[in-house]
Symmetry: none
Subunit: 272 residues, 2 copies
């Protein structure tokens, strides 16, 4: 459960229903439930699941998405399962000879978000593992959602197919909102600290004979500065790197405590 914060209540905000038509494997029902929970969906409906309900394998695969599993509703017909919904999209990897609008996941999700924002209810249909949805089932949907898959390998596992639309729904619903955590990157240091690091490094390199010839020095200095500017370092990181330079630079002093310090600033103790 890496990353899950169990101190937070799970919000049940308005979101599309996921309707699995005659699902065959309990694992898939459970994995679909988990995928829904990952992205904040919770209304899972089953139309005549092959192995009945409840299903132990589904519960195991749901990986503690209890709030989804406990609310599962089972229906005898697709019509009953969609009765309260005013927008229904059928997901399918197969072209149908049908006068029906086809959306990609992003546009499909956008339409669902708009619909739900207006206070109405929406749902997504998913077919059987072996052969998907029948045409008459697709026919009751407002539109088709299909995925940008490889034509030569187009069949998604049903739980994977559920996941993708849950993800896209969340993306579109949260447009402009931030990820659950950001870089946590500390702010980059003020430029003077970066320059301080540069001068420290370059002084050390001058003293240790790194720049073989004077005419190459400016280019090599620029190249080194480019590496360190790209890293966008924090003040702490700059201090660490200066410690690294000093540590290497003065190692020989520690090995022979008799010698005097011959260089500059930041007098690290050589007592060890």
């Amino acid at each position: 459960m890496a990353g899950t914060d169990r101190t937070i209540d799970i919000p049940l905000r308005p979101s599309p229903a996921i309707i699995l038509v005659e699902p065959q494997l309990g694992e898939n029902i459970g994995t679909a439930a988990r995928a829904m929970a990952n992205f904040g969906l919770w209304d899972l409906r089953l139309v005549t699941p092959r192995d009945g309900w409840p299903n132990e394998r589904a519960i195991a695969a749901a990986s503690r998405a209890d709030h989804v599993i406990e609310q599962v509703r089972v229906f005898d017909t697709l019509e009953a399962a969609t009765a309260d919904l005013s927008m229904v999209f059928a997901t399918t990897a197969r072209r149908r000879d049908m006068q029906k609008q086809v959306y990609g996941p992003e546009e499909g999700a956008q339409r669902i978000v708009s619909h739900i924002a207006s206070g109405a209810k929406a749902g997504l249909l998913y077919g059987r593992e072996r052969w998907g949805l029948y045409n008459e089932e697709v026919a009751i949907a407002d539109a088709i959602v299909t995925y940008p898959v490889e034509a030569a390998f187009a069949s998604l596992n049903v739980a994977q197919a559920v996941l993708l639309m849950c993800y896209e729904w969340r993306q579109q619903a949260d447009k402009g909102e931030v990820l659950p955590f950001d870089g946590g990157l500390d702010p980059a240091a003020p430029r003077e600290e970066l320059i301080g690091l540069f001068l420290h490094l370059e002084e050390t390199l001058d003293r240790t004979g790194f720049f073989k010839t004077d005419d190459k020095r400016p280019t090599m200095v620029d190249n080194l500065r480019n590496v360190f500017t790209r890293a966008g370092m924090s003040s702490q990181e700059i201090r660490t790197l200066r410690g690294v330079i000093s540590s290497i630079d003065r190692a020989h002093l520690r090995q022979r405590p008799g010698r005097a310090v011959n260089s500059d600033d930041e007098g690290t103790s050589s007592s060890d």
Copy 2:
């Protein structure tokens, strides 16, 4: 196999490697392989899979994604598995106290598309089912990719996590857009060169007593690695930095030519 057209050859176009670190369940490996095939990826790498390889359960779950399964490569270490890659993103649902850029799936996928369009190789890391990636594994990645999940239920099944980035990669790759900001940079070095720099630096720091106590060493190593991975260094830049380390490390030898070289590789002349 609804929707799959088996008369079409499966194209193996340049696409990111998927690297599963110590995957525990064969089913997840197989389902990940299927998800890759759905969206046109094919380079699957396993780091010490728990149950060895080949794995019957993986093959069954792959649902005839044979072209992915047959090319699976197994590695003993993450370093070996990423050696030829010059962009590596770690996927994680967990905030790390780490100085590392974090992308959402869309931006992460865009960056991978640009990188691959430039002729370079990229990969995505996925951790163990039970506890994900260790910090030291995240530390060798250029950046983190995380998903816009529900904070109270954040843990995705590993195959689901693979699917999402495969989907986003395909979405972004098919837009055919190349981001402008990769333009002027030399290509990033293969990961093995970066690891070589890390080991060189850390060996030098061990020898010079930089790490005051053993218990702080791992965190300090991760912090240093984070700085250098963020810089996205080229091979030339890595060579330069190794020269910098050697130059400072051996300065005292040049000052007293009588002393023998006491350290490692890259014997810079001490004749001056």
